[in-house]
Structures are given as C-alpha cells and as structure tokens.
C-alpha cells in the first residue's frame, strides 16, 4: 500500500507511534487495574482515561502557546507538558 499521499515524515510518524503506544499502555493498565472515578484538584470526577485525555489536550495547548508566545525551541515545552501530564494523572 503506497502512502506517499500522506506525506509522512519521521517526526510525525514518531509522534503518532508514541501516542498509539501510550493509548495501548493505558488500555493494558485499565485491564490489569480498572480505574475508579475520583475527584481531586480538577473540578470534575474523572477516571484515569479522562485525566489522560485532559493531560494530552492541555499539553497540546501548552505547545501551541509556546509556539505562539515565544521564539524558543519547542523542545523546552516538552518537559513542561510531561510534568503537567504527570501532575494531572497523579493528583487530578
């Protein structure tokens, strides 16, 4: 199957592979230890999957804000996003 029309690049392929691996990981984690809905610092009750979605969505916004508001490399936004994702997953 030719995929030239999709204009893949190694970076975007890596991006999607990491997202897919994270989703598979979350799926396996859910099967091994089903999550229980809870409420901490986020204003809504969330499951583990909800917090993962919120963390990823916020990470996308952090990266967009970084591109829009600064001239620094986007690599600096990566650790911030990861730290935020961990905070939401652990304490959200």
């Amino acid at each position: 199957m030719k995929l030239e029309w999709m204009y893949w690049t190694p970076i975007t392929a890596g991006f999607f592979i990491i997202i897919a691996l994270m989703l598979v990981g979350m799926g396996v984690w859910e099967v091994i230890a089903p999550s229980i809905e809870r409420r901490r610092f986020l204003p809504i009750s969330t499951t583990r999957g909800d917090r993962f979605f919120i963390g990823l969505l916020c990470s996308a916004y952090i990266n967009i804000a970084w591109v829009g508001l600064t001239d620094w490399s986007l690599w600096f936004a990566l650790p911030i996003s990861i730290v935020w994702l961990v905070i939401v997953m652990r304490f959200g």
Binding site: I44, F53, I54, I64
Partner: protein, 290 residues
C-alpha cells in the same frame, strides 16, 4: 454455574473502528503531516517544523475571524434562546393548533443549508428581493453585499429564522413534560404568570434548554454553508468566520501547510469546547434543587 466472558462481541466494533479510521483518523494524520511541511507540488515537499503554526498564530485575520466567530455564536444564543422559549410558551397546548404549529415550526429545519443561503440572497436583494426592496422603499439604504452591518443583520435574521424553531421545539417538549399538578399548586398559591415561569417552567426546562444551548453554540461555531452562500465572507472580511477563512486558505490560496496548521488549531478549540460541554451535559440535573 461458572461465569464466563464472551469477548467475541468486540469484533462487532471492528467495522465502526475501520470506518472511523478511514473517515477521521487517517485524514487527521495526513493533516498533521501537512502542517509541518511546505507542499510545493504533488510528491514534492520540504519539512518546515512549526513555521506554519507560527504564521497562523500571528495572523491577525485569523484572530479577527475567531473573535467574529465568538461574537456570532454569542449573538445567536442571546437572540435564539429567549425567542425560542417565548414561542414555546405561546404555542397551543391542545387541539389542531398543536400539529399545525409544530409542522410550521419544523419547516425551516427541513431545508438544505445551502438552499437557505440562496433563498435569503434573493429575499434580501435590494432590487428584486421582497425584504431588501421593502426596506429600501422605506428610505433606508439596505444592501448586504456592500455594507458590513447589513450583511450581519441579514446573516442574523437568516440564522434566527433557520434555527430558533429547534430551540422552540425543544423548549415546547420540556414544557409539555411538566405535570399539571404543578400548575394547579401555583394557581392555589395565587402565583403570577411570571412566578409560574420563573419557579416552575424555567427550572423544569433546564435539561432541554441546556441541550438546546449546547447544540446551537456548536452549530453556530462551525457554521459554513449559509454565510458562504449568502455573503461569501464579505463585504471585505466582515462575515468571514473561521471555517470560511480556512477554506479560503486551503482552496483559494492552496496553502495546504498553513491550512492544515489552522485546521489543527481549530480542531483543538472545538475539542476543548466539546469536552467542556460534554461535562456540563453530564452534570445537568446533578445537585439541582428542583
């Protein structure tokens, strides 16, 4: 008896997954790929990183389109919600009038969206349109193709005519679901019409009104066909909303990289709003006093 799980049912989900992959996931991946490249010709591209995102985020026309979009959605809600409730309150509760008003109200909802644009173009034309010519004959200059305010008025009139019936129908359904004993109790207490509305009807319609609000906000936020047909985004950029601007970049300028970066940002805005609205919908009625 020993319990066992039959996981074969999961295979029934496969067709849906395949459909979603072809209709949403693969196009979305392609858009992400486009957004980091400059497509020079078919099969010829250059990796540009986040350049398109930078350009889009600093594009003042996009900022203007975004604020215009929020203004439009805000005005739509401010007009359609109270008007829809008023129409629902005025509708008959029994007899032949119920069917008549329901069918009449549903008519605008049945017309294809681009046809609605065409209808309103003719209706508001200053030379031959009934509305446009009537306004002009009163001595008021009205031309939605040249004056931004007139274009907005026309667009709002069209939007209100098209979608207020949906709010009215939902509100009517909510009103009809209120048991008669509530009204009897209000009557015994000597409640005024306003008090009955404020303390019985409005709280009881809360669920359907929330759904109406969310539907109308999302629909108006993604609007494309009607303003595209009616004004084409003009005069100037006066009615260029996000989706119209996006199509201008993608198919007008054929700037696929920039259009893709724009699409992803638009997608993120819609995704965030959907999530917030979904949470609001899930929590409607929870902790309510009524």
């Amino acid at each position: 008896m020993e319990k066992w799980e039959n996981n074969k049912a999961w295979f029934l989900v496969v067709p849906v997954l395949a459909f979603v992959a072809f209709s949403a996931l693969i196009p979305l991946m392609t858009v992400v790929n486009y957004s980091v490249q400059d497509i020079l010709a078919p099969g010829e591209s250059v990796f540009v990183g986040t350049e398109w995102f930078k350009k889009v985020l600093h594009d003042y026309r996009l900022h203007d389109a975004l604020w215009r979009q929020f203004l439009f959605s805000g005005l739509v809600l401010l007009i359609e919600m109270p008007l829809g409730i008023l129409i629902a309150l005025a509708m008959p509760k029994k007899g032949w009038g119920v069917s008549f008003s329901l069918v009449t109200l549903a008519l605008p909802l049945l017309i294809p969206w681009n046809t609605i644009g065409s209808i309103w173009i003719i209706f508001t034309r200053p030379d031959i349109g009934l509305f446009g010519a009537a306004i002009n004959s009163l001595g008021l200059a009205f031309d939605h193709t040249r004056r931004p305010l007139d274009a907005w008025i026309t667009l709002m009139l069209m939007e209100v005519w098209h979608w207020t019936p949906l709010v009215a129908l939902l509100a009517y359904a909510g009103l009809r679901a209120i048991p008669e004993m509530y009204y009897q109790a209000a009557k015994i207490d000597g409640a005024s019409a306003w008090s009955t509305f404020r303390y019985i009807q409005l709280p009881k319609m809360r669920g359907v009104l929330t759904i109406a609000l969310l539907l109308r906000f999302m629909d108006s936020f993604l609007i494309y066909a009607e303003p595209f047909v009616l004004t084409g985004g003009g005069p100037g950029d006066a009615t260029t909303f996000l989706s119209i601007y996006l199509v201008k970049i993608a198919t007008g300028q054929f700037d696929l990289g920039m259009a893709s970066a724009f699409s992803l940002i638009y997608f993120l805005i819609v995704l965030l709003l959907c999530f917030v609205f979904y949470q609001v919908l899930q929590n409607v009625g929870k902790g309510a006093r009524i």
